[in-house]
Symmetry: D2
Subunit: 140 residues, 4 copies
């Protein structure tokens, strides 16, 4: 959609330049122009789990991944940061001892607001959670 999308290395530099993103262990794996989709991975770590020994990510970690993946799908397309206005998180199924793979798809690029859908999968491709976020494009 944008004329000069940002390349993957630059996106990951921007992603990692944030203390909380390092706590979460995030990495952008790919971007796909054909589907306006960015893929972000979150590594499982006991430190950010729901409870010790469960192998389950904390819900707040999943919600954070949703917010951040949608945000970076727009950074990728627009070339600048966009504050989140609001977002919804739906937890569908638990994932155990697995990285989380978020597919963030741009649904609308607008002058003042943009919208992304974010599907979160386990490594085996099970749909664990879904998110939908609105971002302030005008503020960028």
């Amino acid at each position: 959609m944008a004329s000069t999308p940002i390349d993957l290395d630059t996106l990951n530099e921007m992603l990692h330049d944030c203390p909380f993103h390092q706590v979460l262990g995030l990495n952008i794996e790919s971007t796909d122009d054909a589907t306006d989709t960015l893929v972000m991975r979150l590594h499982f770590d006991e430190r950010i789990s729901r409870a010790e020994g469960t192998g389950q990510h904390h819900g707040g970690v999943i919600a954070s991944l949703i917010d951040i993946a949608g945000d970076f799908a727009l950074i990728w397309q627009l070339g600048h940061g966009v504050p989140t206005i609001n977002f919804r998180t739906d937890y569908l199924r638990p994932g155990i001892n697995t990285d989380l793979i978020a597919h963030a798809r741009v649904r609308k690029i607008g002058r003042t607001v943009s919208v992304c859908d974010i599907d979160v999968y386990s490594e085996e491709g099970k749909l664990l959670a879904i998110g939908r976020g609105t971002y302030a494009t005008a503020a960028g």
Copy 2:
């Protein structure tokens, strides 16, 4: 609403028995039967900030606080854990160099689902973010 609500010390023990809650630095400060409201504080820490030197909490941290505060308002009233079904986070204003104070109010206790509203304030009482969550009461 419940016959045997859990006391504050027990609630904080349950809260702290989770690795991610320790990363966030959470504490339950009070519960109020008259308004069905629980107050939870999140201490500011550079490690979970939006970007170094900004003094601002990361949005994912605020969303996590919203989810957890609503969850514990229900744990307080029901006496057992309740999985989140979905929740919405709205960011209203930035807060700088401040703890976050979440007021989680129970709006409905149902047999299968319950609903909470969560308002997040700065230490000076500025409204920074609002959340609304639905929780699976039946699963408890």
Copy 3:
């Protein structure tokens, strides 16, 4: 919040100048500066019910009331129309053979987006549904 809020008669003229609002049977009853709240009533009518003989409003009618009440709370304060960006509707309890009374409270007036909370009550004051909407202030 605004310097020149619109008076009740003018608001109701604007409200009634819409075919769908006449189908719904809407009326603004009051506005309160102290709480930034506007009260809108929707009359029960069999034509817009969930099913004949139930005495229950259709869910889409309740969602419409939520969207419109939030919209008019902002029209009241800003003096011009504001398109809805998105909104959430939560159904809490059924209401039978009752008008619906929506209390729309402004939570944020922003340059680009504004946010309202809408609580929907029965005539006896039972909380039936709650809504939260984001509106495009910049577009006005």
Copy 4:
């Protein structure tokens, strides 16, 4: 997903047996097992427009369509009615003088709650609005 999905004629009989659905002018056009998707059409009518002469559907009409289409996608798969717990509506672009075509896709069938995504298109295939709803499967 279900063993005995309901056929199209029966679904439309159930759909039309509701006063408000007749006000909206709804019809189910197709169901697709491969994608778990139901398609519902809403005919444009001046009576349910945003304002006379605009050719635009009222936002509440679009939200109602979203709620109802998601509901009937689950009725189709489960064989019985399911009350809406909550849903989100995002308005993306205006549609003028066009029927609305809702594609409701089942994202999760659960014992207590189920989740649908609903995309609303113009007749030319422009994406006008998106919705996401949670429904109480257990209550059926």
